[in-house]
């Protein structure tokens, strides 16, 4: 463990001792809220059934909102909770051209994990991720639903991490797996296989050093006949696909890869504020004001403007208004509050600023620097995940709801065009590049 990790363990266990004490009457409150919620859900179900008979899907949304009102949930302050947010229509209605719905399992029953789009019609998927036994790469034809096996990912002895960082370009697929032999340091072995199929071949072994301190590698990219990668601690390297030893990329010795050839360094609360094109040498610095916390892409920055203030802390109370004690001590008297003044996305040069919805996920990657995940509160306190298009202001409901266990899948998606998530027996494959 590093010093920071030690300190983190210490701080977290130390803080745990100052946690609030169980408030009196918690059990009764829990049961009351449970009964009230059960009653409210029954009312919602009845109303929904009626409206479904009477009208279309659009009508159900508003009817659900209305039906929840006779049973307002009461907050800690005794005020009724605000009404649910307006939920946009489902994504297959809003952006049908971007949505592919395919079975969540391969025809032979295997579960798979989408990795990337090889082209407009072909998804690259991996199987064997969850059982951890034999892993395979497949290309999956979105129109016909036919998978084709590309290769088995060679298992590596003593591998802590199986295939990761899958990337493709120029007809080649690459990935890495962490590998360690007794007595020698851990390495990240980079592999490649043609997208048309074949026998995977190691490209190179990247020495990792202390992975807890310095991380592994990331940002794997195929660029022409080379593979590019960066250490998670920073430092971009290039190695020919045909093999050889990795060479540092000039001028990017401490950098992270945003989207090759754009690389940058992280500085405080402005992620990728300064960018550098490692192929042309072009620099792009983003305009960021002192009170802003942003995450930037190649063209835009998104984030918040905040104001910090030290305030007198109110006595913590539970929902029934009883004071909560903090361990053996009194609860602290002061608190530092953070107020979000603005939420925005704008071009790196500071122009074209647009407001983002209140509950967009800060610090999260926005697909194509344009599509932001926004969490809304639906009827019955239900969490509804939506996608917000900063270019048009339109939104769509991703259709994800909590399952019976109360858990909710979080869509996988980065800065690129692909976003995927399973709902019941279907895999939603969103190709954001289809939206002009």
């Amino acid at each position: 463990m590093t010093d920071l990790e030690d300190q983190l363990s210490r701080v977290l266990s130390g803080a745990a001792h100052r946690a609030p004490q169980p408030p009196e009457g918690l059990l009764a409150t829990v049961k009351t809220r449970h009964r009230r919620r059960r009653a409210r859900m029954a009312a919602v179900r009845t109303a929904a059934a009626v409206v479904l008979v009477a009208g279309g899907v659009g009508a159900v949304v508003s009817a659900l909102g209305a039906s929840a009102e006779p049973y307002p949930a009461v907050s800690a302050t005794g005020r009724p909770e605000a009404s649910p947010d307006k939920i946009p229509p489902l994504i297959e209605k809003v952006w049908p051209q971007a949505v592919h719905k395919i079975p969540a399992k391969l025809p032979d029953g295997r579960a798979y994990y989408p990795q990337l789009l090889l082209d407009d019609r072909t998804l690259l998927v991996m199987t064997g991720v969850s059982d951890g036994k034999r892993q395979f790469l497949w290309s999956y034809e979105l129109s016909t639903g036919r998978p084709r096996q590309i290769a088995e990912i060679p298992p590596t002895k003593g591998s802590a991490i199986f295939a990761d960082g899958v990337a493709a370009g120029g007809g080649n697929i690459v990935w890495w797996a962490s590998y360690k032999e007794a007595g020698s340091p851990r390495v990240a072995r980079i592999w490649t296989v043609p997208a048309t199929g074949g026998q995977p071949r190691p490209v190179t072994d990247v020495p990792l050093g202390n992975v807890m301190k310095q991380g592994h590698i990331d940002g794997l990219t195929v660029a022409g006949s080379d593979v590019i990668f960066a250490y998670e601690k920073g430092g971009v390297y290039r190695v020919p696909l045909s093999g050889g030893s990795p060479q540092p990329v000039k001028g990017a010795e401490r950098h992270h890869i945003l989207r090759w050839p754009w690389v940058g360094v992280h500085r405080g609360k402005a992620i990728f504020r300064e960018l550098f094109n490692a192929e042309t040498g072009e620099r792009r610095d983003a305009v960021v004001k002192a009170d802003e916390e942003v995450r930037c892409g190649v063209d835009r920055c998104a984030g918040v403007a905040v104001r910090y203030k030290t305030v007198k802390a109110e006595r913590p109370r539970d929902r029934s208004g009883k004071e909560i004690k903090c361990g053996t001590r009194r609860c602290p008297d002061t608190a530092r509050s953070q107020t979000i003044l603005r939420r925005f996305v704008r071009d790196r040069d500071g122009s074209h600023e647009r407001e983002l919805p209140n509950s967009f996920q800060t610090g999260d990657d926005a697909g194509l620097e344009r599509f932001f995940k926004v969490t809304l509160r639906g009827p019955g306190d239900q969490t509804v995940l939506t996608l917000y298009d900063a270019d048009t202001g339109r939104s769509a409901d991703l259709g994800i709801r909590r399952d019976a266990k109360g858990s909710m899948g979080i869509p996988d998606g980065g800065l690129d065009r692909l976003m995927t998530y399973p709902i019941k027996n279907e895999m939603y494959v969103l190709d954001l590049a289809a939206l002009k």
Partner: protein
Amino acid sequence: MDDEPGFDDFVAEQTAALLRYGYVLTGNPHDAADLVQEALVRLCGAWPRVRRKDSLHSYVRTTMARLHISVWRRRRREHLIGEPPERVHHEVFPRDDEQGVWEELAALPRRQRAVLVLRYYEQLSDAEIAKVLGISTGTVRSQAFRGLDKLRSALSSAPATHGSMR
């Protein structure tokens, strides 16, 4: 309630531990209390289905972690008081460096903080964390790394500001 045998005992035995977990997960006593209460309400609803399971302990903790990163709480609070103090840092540590770590934890995105809490407080492996949060191990690793990286750079760039805000 008669139809929920064992639930009362579970609440009596586990609440203090759940509050400790909720507190390190959220960073403040209000959110911890609300998170525990919400998780217990949901557990109460699921009780007939899950009560015979051995893993009740991890079931409710998983619920709390997922609720927390699902922005359930922040939304509720925003509705209540408009433009609110969204993150509240309580002075809990006598030592400035530890207070600094605690405050910088509050500046992390929720998913990153949850990953760090599960790793360094709950001592879970990355594979276990992936299961709890419903994300891939690759994401766990990169979120942990990003979180640690941000803490490291924030702590090294602005050591003087901590503790001066009393």
